[in-house]
């Protein structure tokens, strides 16, 4: 697995989010919730116990009125491509979270997870949520659960999967159509929904892909690059104050 490194693979699924276009409307996050059977509770204001895979951070430039500005930063799982291990995959004692070196997806398998939360401690992006309660839905709402993603149980960790079930379907479709499954492309639910099309998804190693081009844009940056986690989620912004919030002591 990880010992091999990932040099030989020519797929690295990644995402670019244009923060200048993001209006914080939340469509990506709700689409994600619907797609991935994310459970909810009557009170969701306790954000530290609220399960969200696509969390939308509100940033501000710390200035006084009227120079005050806000911006939104949607944060999926970064699917870190750090050498050898992602911060979370390194620490999981039971191999519940691993990185697929064929495509760079950092996956988390609920039936394997024992709920030790070590991965959450290791992740600086707070991309992971724990099921503090048994996930329950109002009876009627169980009808809208998707069979394509398994509902979780209490006591396990969950996080953004880049909608890998869509990837599986795209690959299966490719093998039916007789095309190369390794060339299969798909879009996660968030990117599909985004009203300003601020989210671009694809193979970062495919030079011709939009996502590869954008990731090399002069406006592109990643969060906490100094930690060498090598996220596969890039952000775009022209505004210096937003870019400065990407890493500590960036001025």
């Amino acid at each position: 697995m990880s010992e091999k490194g990932h040099a030989q693979s020519n797929i690295r699924l990644g995402m670019v989010i244009d923060l200048d276009k993001c209006t914080g409307c939340g469509a990506c996050s709700t689409a994600c919730q619907a797609e991935n059977n994310i459970s909810y509770r009557p009170d969701e204001s306790q954000k530290l116990r609220s399960i969200t895979w696509m969390n939308i951070y509100q940033l501000d430039n710390k200035k006084a009125y009227p120079d005050f500005k806000i911006a939104f930063l949607p944060r999926p799982c970064m699917h870190c491509d750090a050498d050898h291990h992602s911060p979370c995959t390194f620490v999981c004692p039971v191999n519940a979270t691993t990185r697929d070196e064929n495509n760079g997806l950092v996956t988390h398998i609920y039936p394997r997870c024992i709920g030790c939360r070590y991965c959450m401690v290791a992740c600086p992006y707070h991309a992971r949520s724990f099921n503090w309660w048994d996930p329950t839905w109002p009876k009627q709402m169980e009808s809208m659960l998707s069979p394509e993603v398994s509902p979780r149980m209490r006591g396990v960790v969950e996080k953004c999967t880049f909608c890998h079930h869509r990837y599986n379907k795209a690959r299966a479709k490719a093998s039916v159509d007789g095309t190369d499954p390794n060339k299969a492309i798909y879009t996660p639910a968030c990117a599909d929904a985004c009203p300003t099309k601020a989210i671009t998804f694809g193979n970062l190693l495919d030079e011709k892909s939009e996502v590869a081009k954008l990731s090399k844009d002069p406006r592109a940056f990643r969060i906490l690059e100094k930690l060498k986690t090598k996220p596969k989620v890039y952000y775009l912004s022209k505004q210096d104050w937003i870019r400065n919030l990407a890493d500590n002591s960036l001025t």
Binding site: S45, I70, S143, L145, A193, P195, T196
Partner: protein, 787 residues
Amino acid sequence: MQFAAGAVGGTLLTPLPWKLADDSAVWSQNWSWRPSPERGEITKVPSVCTLCAGGCGIQARIVNGHRAILIEGNPANPVNEGSVCALATSALQFLYAPYRVAQPLKQTKKRGDKTGFQAISWEQAQTELSKKLEEIRVEGPQSLACITSSRRSSMDDLWAQFLTAFGSPNLFKMPSQCDSSRTAAQLTTGNASPFAFDLENAGYVLSFGASLLDGCAASSRASGALRRWKKDRYPVKIVQVESRCSITASKADTFLPINPGTEAALAMGIAHLMVNGANYDAYFVKNNVFGFEDWTDANGKKRQGFKNLVASSAYSPEQVAKITGLEAAKIREVAKEFASQPKALAVWGTGRADISNNTYHELVFVALNALKGNLKPSGLIAVAPKVPLSDLLPQKDILSENASQHPRLDLAKAQSCPCPQNGLYGFLDAIASGPKYPIKLLMVHEANPAHCLPENKLFMTAAEKVATLVSFSSYMDDTALLSDYILPNHMALERFDDVIGVPGAPYGYYAVSSPILKPLLDTKHTGEVLMKLASTLGGTVASSIPWKSYEDFLKFRVEGIAKAKTGAIIDKPIDISSIKAGDPVTPNYSDGADLFKKLKAGTCWHDAPTGVTFDKTSSGKLELACQSIGKGTQATDDVIYLPHFSPLKPSGSESEWPLLLVGYSIPQVSCGYLANPPFMNKLVPDSVLMGNELFVDLNPQTAASLGITQGDLVMVKTTQGEASAKANVTPAARPGVLYIPRGMGHKAYDEYIENKGVNACNLMEVQLDPVSGMGTVWATRAQLRRV
């Protein structure tokens, strides 16, 4: 002991302990009390979303034909171009909401008592309702009234048809900015259709308080426009004029922080500089505008024109700076930019556009665009084109004789407004304060005035005076809870509906929303209930509404387009904003049936923009001097004809109420007929809601002067009411102004919604616009203290 040792040893060599350990782990992996979603064939069913007026194309994922699991955007729809908003992605949570009304209900106890509702059959419901209608019809049909929020749907016309045929003029709409926009369009262009903006093709956008990105109506279109503005090369400059550092303000290149409600003064100031600097489209103004120069009225009286009004020192940058709180230099700078940018567009709005605007202010913004020449046939502003749907069957003059005796209730109060429009507030006020005639039956359709009407206590008081309140809501909302009968409509995704035009869009648009599923509950399409009631009532009511199903009704309406042979179906992705006024659009449907079939399959109809024409005004030009305002009066003041800054003073004295309270909207909270769905609850920032406490935004300066710190429990008191909340000290707020998020504080629905925060509408003051008589809201005087 040996036995035990043997048993332990033996057991360890059998699968028993290992299998049990494994099985218990596997059991935990499936967790039997967790739902297991049914598997099967997944299909995509296209439709059109009618949760808001935006008209987005959607497609639903359905499992085994009976279970909807996801709403996605329809890439072939030109409005949303495959994307979809947070509310639409949560749409299924309304479909499967526990607070849906499963069958007709009748209140058997006191109104508002949740336990008093008794399930009744549709037959009983319809019989009892038609009996009441028959009685009213005999005693005076004007005593029937309806409030709906339906505006861009054939349902709206069906209600009008029903009430007209029945003999009542009392059909009212929930407030919307399109009413004031329509008033302004009518006064200046003679078209009774709201203004439309070519956002996508503008080269410079000056927005006067329009919450383009803070959850406005048609948010998908605004998002599409933003995407085009933020293009990499030569991005479009956005200037936002507003009092709060909103999302739109943050996304804008320039933010003009302004005293709340003074946007029109700034527009006048800019116009002043353009006129005095001769930096306006003089050719257009000279040839197409009436009332720019001084003019003579029908009585031969010489009147002042807009030019002289705006050029006066009252609108000098220095004066405007005093009113708005901006610097004069900044005003000069923006005026210069606006005047010199070739494709500059001024847009305006009232936050989420669910409140009507001050008519004079609407006129100011029209005037500013007129100076820019934007109302040219190929300009950036048009009026929304009419979709050539079949008109409803001609009426047999049922209403007319009654109407002269029993005018619409808001008009019956004989207010002196010259240009009366949809006067919901006037109507409610009339009922509350002893009407000319009683309202015996009030029907509320797709609206929740008990919650989301600013100054909602007016509705509460009025409702008490109404003998019977009937709700057609699909949900147990705040208004349904107060009703005597609930005749639940199908939920939007279970029924036929249509979308007539995209709010603020210059192109023609029509789409049919077809059901994605069979109705889940014992509900009925309100349109079909009306059809049933009409046929029971018989006579001319029955003959006016001859359709048996709503689908038939829509088919009938679509025939009109086919007869007009205009526009075309869109079934693959196109950039609709690239179609210019006058571009040929060739029909690609054979006849009405074909068109309906295609629309039913989730496509949409469109037509090229039509631009604005002025042939309906008395001068045949764009009238900046609105002659109809002064009609019949011997107005002495020339200003009443002209666009000008005319703030309505909020009640209360400044010394007693030192602060202003302004309601604001955020895209993460649904406000309006639909309550926030659980998915969107996760989006609500914890600076807006924490537990059940709502936060009121105030500037650090204001907070310091009041001795308030972040998170303090505070009491907000306005001239309208008081509420306890928490303080959110944020530089987003203008000093001296409190901002309260709208859409919270429901008193109905379920545990996911009920009692979360405070309803801003309880605290907001409504003032009637002197021109149109519609309720406008901008700020309420308030005080704040720490508890």
